[in-house]
Symmetry: C2
Subunit: 196 residues, 2 copies
Amino acid sequence: MAKIQVFGHKNPDTDTVASAMGAADLLVQQGLETQAVAQGKPNAETQFALDYFGLTALPIIDKAQTAEVVLVDHNEAAQSVDNLADVQVYGIYDHHKFAFENATPLYITAKPWGSVSTILYYEYLQAGLTIPAKVAGMLASGLISDTLLLKSPTTTDVDRKALPELAKIAGIEDLDGYGLAMLKAGTDLSTRTDEE
Amino acid sequence: MAKIQVFGHKNPDTDTVASAMGAADLLVQQGLETQAVAQGKPNAETQFALDYFGLTALPIIDKAQTAEVVLVDHNEAAQSVDNLADVQVYGIYDHHKFAFENATPLYITAKPWGSVSTILYYEYLQAGLTIPAKVAGMLASGLISDTLLLKSPTTTDVDRKALPELAKIAGIEDLDGYGLAMLKAGTDLSTRTDEE
Ligand SMILES: [Mn+2]
Ligand SMILES: [Mn+2]
Ligand SMILES: [Mn+2]
Ligand SMILES: [Mn+2]
C-alpha cells in the first residue's frame, strides 16, 4: 500500500482527477510512495479524457486509507474525505480560496491560476522532471476543463502558456478539436444517468 | 507608496524580519512594488544582524497601509496586523502549522523547513534571481536564529544545505563565529531594557 494517498474534492471534476494523477506521479519521481485516488466516479467529461489517453479511472475512496495524504484542487475540510481530521496532511496543491487549519507544518503550493493542472505543469518544469505523455494529456484536460478552453475569466497568462506545451507533450495534434469534444462530452445529456 | 506591504508576525524575530526583507526584494525582482515592514522594533539579536550588515530597521506598522499584503513567517490572523480582514492577502511564505481563511485565491509557498529564510533562498534559486549580499546575510541570520545554528530539532537537510550557501553570498567568512555571536546578542541580558 502506498504511504500517501493523493486526492481531489468530492464530486470530482477533470482538474481534480488530473491533478491527483499529476501530483502522485510528481511526488513518486521525487522519491515518495503515493497513490492517486478519487472521492467518486469520473464524470462524463473526465471519462472522455481517460478514454482518449487509455487510462482507467482512479480507485474510489470515501475515507483516506493512509496516515499521510496530499490534497489537490481543494483545501476545505467540507470538500475532503470524512476522516481528514484523523490523518496528517503532507501537502496541498490548490488554486481556490483558503479555509484550512491543521496542527503541523506542511507543504502548500497555491497559486491563483486557472487550474491545479497548470500549477503541476510548472512544478514538473521547476523540478526538471519529465511529464509522462498520458499525465500531460490529463493535465491538459484539467486545464481545458477549468478554463473552458482558456475562455473563462479565471484564465491567466500562465494557463495560456502551459496548455499548448502540455498538449505537445501529450501528442494532442488538434488542441481545439480535442478540447471542444471533451467539453461537449461533459454537457452531453445522453450520457447522463437518471440521478443526474 | 508601495502597492504591497510585506510583513512577519507580531513580536518580530530575526526570521520574520529577514524573510520580510527577502520576500519584498524577491517580489520586486519579479516585477511587483513592495515594501518590507515590521510589527515592532527589532529584538537585540535581529539588531545585531542589522548592524553587522549595515542595514536599518524596517518601518514599523500596526495596521497594513496597502490594499494588498504578503505575510511571511506567519499565517494566523492573531499574529498578523489588526486590519488583516480588510486587506487582500496576495501571498504567504510560511513554515508553521496553518489556520488561514480568506475569500480569494492567492499564492502560498509553505514548507515544513527550519526557517522561512530557507524557503526564500530556494525561491530565489528556482527563479534564477540574484540574492543581494545584505539580503543573503539577513536570510542566513534568520535561518541561524530559527534553527539555533542548525542545532534545533526542526532543522532539515534543506536548511543544512542552504546556510553555507547564503553565508558565502553574504561574505560571512566565519559562519560559526558569526552565528554564535548573533545568538549570544539575543540572550545578552545587558542589552535588555527594564520592560523585557
Ligand atoms: Mn475542481
Ligand atoms: Mn480546479
Ligand atoms: Mn518567527
Ligand atoms: Mn520562522
